[in-house]
Symmetry: C2
DNA sequence: TTTGTGCATTAACATATGTTAATTACCATT
DNA sequence: AATGGTAATTAACATATGTTAATGCACAAA
């Protein structure tokens, strides 16, 4: 295992959040973490499980989804390279209420929940980083709430494509549709209408 | 001004978040804060303004709302007694993107943004409290996202009534409707359908 | 190449929600 | 009590999205 490589990836991640953490602390995190390469289409976390770790996507793509009362698969969100597979399992709920899977071959850095919580507690720089991460997540959810309140499905799709230009090419339409809160057939119809009107 | 009374209210607020903060720090916060009693129907913050303070609702009720492209008033959320009028103006955006108004006579405790940020920076207990507050806000937004993804308007209304039994009596239907992402006329229809089927 | 499997598209129809306009109910003020 | 203004309800119709089923397409396995 090439520790320095992982440290530099973690550094890149933290810098993408405008966070500065000493390299020795990043090294400490990497020392405690485990790394997994997961092939496409694997389940990496399931409903009802205890949340024992948080994952950073070093490469690849993960998807978080609900199973609703009728058994339908509904996408809650995507975790592309450089983001975390993080959900409320990490704060407040010990049992997962959603699933995670890989949509491509994916490399994960896994950090035990207890290790992260200890780091957050003991290290002010990490605690500040955690705050920034929470604030960003909250802003994102507010942005999404705004979409459901004031936009129709077509507008939400347009904004999705702007925000995730790569994903809209590689991810199955059905997952994008449920992420937008509509049926896959509806997204198909919307795409056609957008083509026809240029 | 009865400082002790405000300190006890602030204590109640922090305990509702399972937060323990020394009383002298609460006293310090109260010393720095200003208090305002605002009559029903007043605008307390507007789009485009700089966010200079955060407000805790000591009594009464406030409402946060967007104005969409067509000029429609769309409710983003409510801040009943014991909660904060907090939006992304406090973290990341300096300019407000939404409005706040009172729906009843309301008493606010106003804390300057700079004062809170200083407190968060310098006092670990406050910093931990801020984390808990962010986590709770994030859980709430995830709950809401879930509603838009897997529920229809009727189900969202039922859940709203369970979560805010008081509000569903006192708040104008039109605000509840836009909060649920539907037109007031649609909520009216839903309520009638619910009555008819018991 | 053949076969099988899942995905995207399409069409027809069903349902939920939006829109408009009229009516009624409910207040606050005078 | 009378008035005026806002909110809620209702109905008729418009539109967006859901549902079902059929078809075609792409890709992987045999």
């Amino acid at each position: 295992m090439d520790k320095n490589y992982f440290v530099s990836q973690l550094k890149e991640f933290s810098e993408s959040y405008q966070i500065n953490v000493d390299e020795d602390i990043l090294g400490e995190i990497v020392n405690k973490a485990t790394f997994r390469v997961i092939s496409k289409g694997e389940i990496i976390a399931s409903i009802g499980e205890k949340t024992t770790a948080a994952a950073l996507v070093l490469s690849g793509l993960a998807r978080c989804y609900y199973i609703d009362n009728d058994g339908n698969d509904i996408t809650r969100g995507f975790a592309p390279e450089g983001t975390m597979c993080m959900d409320e399992g990490f704060f407040g709920y010990s049992e997962r209420i959603c699933m995670w899977e890989t949509l491509e071959e994916t490399t994960l850095m896994l950090c035990k929940t207890e290790d992260i919580k200890k780091l957050i507690k003991e290290n002010v720089a990490i605690k500040d980083a955690w705050i920034l991460l929470l604030e960003r997540a909250l802003r994102y959810k507010i942005y999404r709430e705004n979409g459901f309140l004031v936009e129709n499905a077509t507008e939400r799709y347009i904004h999705f494509k702007k925000m995730y230009p790569n994903l809209s090419e590689t991810v199955p339409q059905k997952h994008i549709a449920t992420y937008l809160g509509i049926a896959p057939e509806s997204l198909s119809r919307i795409r056609r209408a957008m083509k026809e009107t240029d």
